[in-house]
Amino acid sequence: MSAAQRALATVLELLIGDRQADRAVPPTGFTVWLTVLTAGAMAFLAVFALALTLATGRLADRWADSLAQAVTIRISAPAEQRQAQTDAVLRILETTPGVASARALQTTEQAALLEPWLGPDLPIDRLPLPRLVEVVGDDLDAQGLRLRLAAEVPGAILDDHTRWRAPLVEAASRLRLLGWTALILIAGMLGAMVTLGAQAALAANTEVIRVLRLVGARDAYVARAFTRRFTLRALTGAAGGALLGTLAVAALPSTDAAGGFLTGLSFAGWGWLLPLLIPPFAAITAFAATRRAALRALARFE
């Protein structure tokens, strides 16, 4: 029998079950709710960790893309030369490869940018503010443009946002790593809790195991009675937890309503399907943990 056939047979055995094996091993009260509740809580948390992981991934990509495409040219020159230098910069940009669009910000736009910090009544026309030119690039050679501006328009300084873009992207990447780490920890915790429950059930059924072995039961038969029970409990608990978690994520305020990073935690597109993977993953984790615990316990009996 191939590995795939064996895996299929195992899944069928788990689904169909063995009524006699189930009856031979009586359920142990507290391990039932311990496993179901643990799986439910872990699945609930896993949904949020998954949402965080995906959201930070999207955020990192968006920041990296948008910042990589946009550069700003700051023109610091005496007031009487400012317009001439701005025009010179725009002419240079017209002939620079990789520039998709370029435009000088209007005074009102600059005032709007400063308003959150300096208030609405800013006398911007009396302040020696530099002119800003916004450039959207498409595979722009920023270093080449910087050198050309330095040679032809000494008052123009190109800022490709690298200085503050890199830490932002790195922060988002670390958040994504944190999300994956949380998912791994959750899986580990689920495995540990199921192992604990299985060990308690095995300890409570020592005499049952001994009798089954003495009447000729193979280890696989005895282990199956435990693994099936714990696998189905974990599957049930995780299905409930994943459903609640998904509903909670769906209930988060929308980006349009509130704006900002936190509201972007929701799933997007095919991401809504990912919580469906959590219950089977929990079941597989529980199966492996219980089988390992059962076989180790069985080794104590001849």
Partner: protein
């Protein structure tokens, strides 16, 4: 008796096999086997060979190690010295699935019966069948006949704690033979049953032996051993001081 018919039918194949290979083949053999509990040696260098179709009584004082010797014979214990062969397999090296298969060929009546208290008697009796994946409609019929023979038809749905000592002992015997084993090992099977039931039990064991089963019975009951002489050619072994001796004719 219907249960006898059932046993005889189940043993038919075994009898044919016995005729083919003849008696004298060894099913269980202890070669200088010893066992010690935490350094206290209870058995030392015991030699015993159980041939197919033989009948042995094992007697001896309490604490002599009769139960320990029986456990060596069905693989619940591994010898701390010497060797025990179960159907040709060294019990020290046989793998766990192999040991399970060997146990399916040995029916054991435990001194304390060892039932699962949460299961009705009918399910307890068929446990060897279900655990080995051999349960069938015919087995369900055999179970009913066995329950009838041991007088427990009306107790099929009772839980083990609800049974008297004698009923439990009879049920344990029924469970031991439901798999149609080649060897039957009984540890004080008449300890909790009356003389009449002891005789019925002995008759069944003798019948099973005539059908080719190998029987090993540990008992204090010398009267039972004497009574058995008229029914079977049994060897009587005495275990004392950790050593096994062939008992004299004074029994």
């Amino acid at each position: 008796m219907s249960a006898h018919d059932c046993v005889a039918r189940a043993a038919g194949a075994e009898e044919a096999a016995r005729e083919r290979r003849g008696t004298g083949y060894t099913v269980i053999e202890l070669k200088g086997a010893g066992y010690s509990y935490g350094g206290d040696g209870i058995l030392g260098g015991v030699n015993l060979r159980l041939d197919g179709g033989s009948f042995h009584f094992l007697t001896g004082p309490s604490g002599a190690g009769k139960t320990t010797l029986l456990k060596l014979c069905y693989g619940e214990l591994k010898p701390s010295q010497g060797q025990v062969d179960l159907f040709g397999h060294d019990s020290r090296t046989i793998d766990r699935d192999g040991l399970a298969r060997v146990r399916q060929r040995i029916g054991v009546v435990h001194q304390d019966c060892r039932f699962l208290d949460h299961l009705p008697m009918a399910e307890n009796l068929s446990l060897p069948l279900t655990a080995s994946g051999r349960e069938s409609a015919a087995d369900a019929d055999s179970l009913r006949q066995l329950l009838a023979w041991v007088g427990l038809s009306h107790r099929a749905h009772a839980l083990p704690p609800e049974l008297s000592g004698g009923e439990r002992q009879r049920a344990a015997l029924a469970r031991a033979i439901i798999m149609d084993p080649e060897v039957i090992i009984a540890d004080e099977p008449t300890g909790n049953i009356d003389w009449e039931m002891s005789q019925r039990l002995l008759t069944l064991l003798a019948e099973l032996n005539r059908l080719g089963k190998t029987i090993l019975v540990a008992t204090h009951d010398l009267a039972l051993i004497r009574a058995a002489k008229s029914q079977v050619a049994a060897r009587v072994l005495r275990l004392a001081g950790g050593q096994l001796q062939l008992a004299g004719s004074d029994l």
